[in-house]
């Protein structure tokens, strides 16, 4: 028995030590996708509730666990115990009723804020502060949308994200841009299997389910009213606004990481996305650049460029032109990808590539090319484009760009061996990467 107690003590201390390592070893919980480092009212509400459940259960744990430990220590069998048989008690209804009552009370402590939070996080607010007409500095809003909050339609594909802004008439992929401090309504759709939209620092998940119109709302940072209330700042309207903008700039404008959270097949682990929270003006500027799109290489108009391309492509020289030719021609990229401005690049099966050169990641967040400070690293970007184009199937096993070899890029099939895909040459891929980089 002594040996056993010894063993148990050793076990307990070892376990505690390892738990301590587990806890403190990775102590930094303010990481890119941490639900502890909240930036917005929804994640904050969810975190508050989480802590409440932690405190309530910790309390129960200490009380019940304490009694449990006392019981096994105090009432353990001692060697050569000659005391009479313990009293054969069968229980005590009063104790039982008391404990049931206490448990119910403790649960009510969790239940009430839970119900409040369910209602709060469910309905997109319609506050004046978030209505498009009241803050969007740009023009050309779809009719009737002045009184709505910004709507983004999130569409899940295996394995990338489409972000459509119906009120603004733009479309992007994998990196969405949102205005800080404004409520945004997300419409969640899926075209194939179930995905789940998770942007941990801003909001918990809601699933994208085929055949079902799901929705959620998110907001990066507090709106002006709740910021003013929380910070307790005082001063003139102008001073407050300045302080609020400073808060947004210092704490909220950021590059946020998100990921698909519902298993969706082979590359589920590689279905990430990003969300950039920016100021109203930056948002409007981004919308404009998405609307305008890109001219042909060297600033030519597309009519001019296509005239040359159709008559005598040899005349179009230089890396970017060569890449563009692959993009329109042998690469068959335009069969699936759209680039605003380019009248022939209107594919819909793949991500919209307008401003893809501006994005800090490709392959839905798996290949990143930015510095620690979230600034674009062009060399890395080039390498990533090359890697993606050359080793699509390694980067994202099972993806459509690879599998569709028989459809969209059918010309690339080796006629000698139909099973084998005749890839673009290394040179062509390098040009293509340069061209994609130029889309910004």
């Amino acid at each position: 028995m002594k040996k056993l107690t010894h063993g148990l003590t050793r076990f307990t201390s070892l376990a505690l030590a390892l738990l301590a390592i587990a806890f403190f070893g990775g102590c930094d919980v303010n990481t890119r996708m941490s639900t502890f480092d909240t930036k917005g009212p929804i994640a904050e509400t969810q975190l508050d509730l989480f802590w409440l459940t932690v405190w309530v259960t910790t309390f129960i744990f200490i009380v019940v666990g304490g009694v449990f430990l006392v019981a096994i220590v105090k009432f353990r069998e001692r060697p050569n115990d000659t005391s009479p048989m313990p009293a054969q008690g069968h229980g005590n209804p009063l104790v039982e009723i008391g404990l049931i009552g206490a448990s119910v009370l403790l649960l009510v402590i969790i239940a009430v804020p839970t119900l409040q939070a369910i209602w709060y996080t469910h309905d997109t607010p319609t506050d004046e502060h978030s209505k498009l007409g009241n803050w969007y500095p740009g023009e050309d809003l779809a009719e009737g949308s002045e009184d709505e909050v910004l709507i983004i339609r999130v569409i899940g594909y295996r394995w990338w994200w489409e972000f459509e802004y119906p009120q603004l008439g733009i479309n992007t992929a994998n990196e969405m841009v949102i205005p800080s401090g404004r409520a945004v309504h997300l419409e969640l759709r899926s075209v194939d299997v179930i995905h789940s939209f998770w942007l941990p620092r801003i909001a918990g998940k809601v699933d994208l389910i085929p055949g079902r119109a799901n929705a959620m709302w998110i907001q990066a940072g507090d709106n002006f009213a709740s910021w003013a209330e929380k910070s307790g700042a005082e001063g003139s309207e102008l001073e407050l606004q300045t302080a609020y903008q400073k808060y947004l700039k210092d704490e909220i404008h950021d590059y946020y990481y998100g990921q698909c959270a519902e298993y969706c097949g082979d590359s589920h682990a590689r279905m990430l996305f990003r969300s950039t929270a920016v100021s109203d003006d930056e948002f409007a500027a981004w919308v404009d650049s998405q609307r305008v799109g890109h001219t042909a290489p060297e600033g030519k108009s597309w009519d001019e460029w296509y005239a040359a391309y159709d008559s005598n492509p040899e005349l179009l020289t230089g890396d970017i032109n060569e890449g563009a030719k692959v993009f329109m021609g042998r690469g068959k990229c335009i069969a699936c990808h759209a680039v605003t401005g380019n009248p022939r690049a209107v594919g819909v099966a793949g991500p919209d590539l307008t401003n893809v050169g501006d994005r800090l990641s490709i392959a839905s967040g798996w290949l990143n090319h930015h510095t620690e400070e979230d600034v674009l690293d062009e060399e890395k970007q080039y390498d990533n484009f090359v890697k993606w184009l050359k080793h699509t199937d390694d980067v994202k096993p099972g993806n459509l760009m690879w599998k569709s070899k028989g459809n969209g890029i059918g010309e690339l099939i080796d006629p000698e061996d139909p099973e084998k895909i005749k890839l673009l040459t290394d040179e062509e891929i390098n040009y293509l990467a340069r061209y994609l980089q130029s889309l910004k």
Binding site: F11, F61, V67, G91, S103, L107, E262
Partner: protein, 660 residues
Amino acid sequence: MSTVTETHEPSTHTGDKHVLKPERSNLGLMRPDHNKSVLVDWLTTVDHKKIGIMYGAIALFFLLVGGLEALIIRTQLAFPENDLISAQRYNQLFTMHGTTMIFLAIMPLNAAFFNFLVPLQIGARDVAFPRINSFSLWAFVAGALVLNFGWVLQALEVMGLFSASGPTAGMNDFVPSMGWFGYAPITGKEFTGAGTDFWIMGLQILGIASLSAAMNFVVTIINMRAPGMKMMRMPVFTWMTLVVSLLIVFAFPAITIALAQLMFDRTFGTSFFVTAGGGQPILWQHLFWIFGHPEVYILVLPAMGIVSEVLPAFSKKPLFGYAIVVFSGAVIGFLGFAVWSHHMFTTGLGKVATAAFSLLTMAIAVPTGVKIFNWVGTLWGGRVRFAPPMIFALGFVWMFMMGGFSGIMHSSAPADAQQQDSYFVIAHFHYVAIGGIFLAVVSGIYFWLPKIVGKMWKGKLSTWVAIFATVGLNVTFFPMHFLGLIGMPRRTHTYLEGFGWETYNLICTIGAYILAFGILLLVVDIIRCIRSGEPAGDDPWDARTLEWATTSPPQVYNFGRTPVITARDALWEHKHGPENRRIQYEEDDGHGIHMPSQSWMPMIASLGFVPLGLGLSLKQAGVPYMGYVAIFGLFMISLGIALWAIEGPGGYHLHPEEEK
């Protein structure tokens, strides 16, 4: 039945079992009774104890298989962007790990305890339908074979010897890869290959096995109790068996229907879950979790039953609040059907439904908590002996409590929106499954194996099993709470560096190996006990319930004479209680003990599921002539059942009293 036995009676009424000879059945075939071949004896047995042992052995085998799958998963995740295995292989491993552990390890381990213990605990000679019991066992084996057959095809595919054609042409996943809850529409034909068909057929067969076993136990417990064994005198483990059996009877039809619909979608082009055809993928989730949540309690209630037996035995005190423990078990079972949508908080249920399921989920914490209070109450004032079963039972209470707490955290739907489908959930249900169910099952093994094999444990290896298992499980799963909360989604075959997940993942992997070593030690200890343990005696633990009143191992007929029960904790009262609470035995009327005949038919019928399941699945993979194989399977099942009906129950009599 009686007429048949009457006709056979004279020939066996010799008073010496050595001259018992097998009879011819109504088919004119020799019954496999009293067979000298050990193999034939075990294959055709209808003895609940042998069936229980086989359930246990097969379940332990699959526990090791599932554990191996888990180790590969953890090794792959030890480092970021590790490429030990491909994404597809990883997805297959986590799917099969979950499916194996739930359907092929924990459920049959529970079934092993049900089978071995329930008739002994209620003083019955066997279960109500011994041949159906045999059918359940072999149907379980058939389901396990079908479910795992994909590995063979996958190996052939890797060697370049097989590729799918026909309905799933171009798909090269032959092992299920859609996750153990198989959310539509990823189970559809355009997203997954024949692996899904193996999964559908395997689970369907396992469902039949579970349903037939469950009905058997409901009937047994209600009808076959010894005189005086009133419902409220039954051991808690038997009570939990009854609750679980009823849960199975009510819960499995939901998944049976869902699987049938899915099979129709894949095989005959219906559109239950296909959006393009007007179907609703979300329907699958509702059907699955209406089964799936009660299933959680199907897994855990027997564990609670085991612990409710072990704690009083090693505290020298009756269970605190027996009636409330029993009643809370029933309430858990009932409420278990009312909380399914808490698995679906992120699917957009709407405010009211989310709120309702949130509150109901909190409510189910109350009866669960009540059980824990009562276990602590049992220890209080007792004399706690740290024997091996007790160590694991105490470990169960502690670890299950921790799993329960993260469960309470999930019940708050908005908080769950962050936890759902992250590693936090993995941590939660592994604390329940390993810290809870597994430790309780190990406790049960340490408690009852001396009864089962008649030999006592050797040495103190059990302490090391406890140390490694508990340390391993905590080191593996405690960091996963953090991992989930800092954003790591589950079911991802790899992850990028720089999210703060590296350290946690490495620790989890190390923990998994510690846990695996503990389980290995357990296997060693079991083998040592069986091979070279000292004779255990009838009642090695000074235990409380009726199964300890008979020999270890029990005779084939369990009790020489039917016991008459006068109190709850019958044996304890018999040993330590007042005179009037002794176990009485019914007078021997010279009639002997009527034993059921052994039979091949249940096994033939249930193994017909193998060609049926494999045929239908392989047909999906384009293997020729598989339709005929499936039809042969159906024929085999029908034939087995028909012959089973025609052969007659048979039976013979034993006279243990006269042998003495």
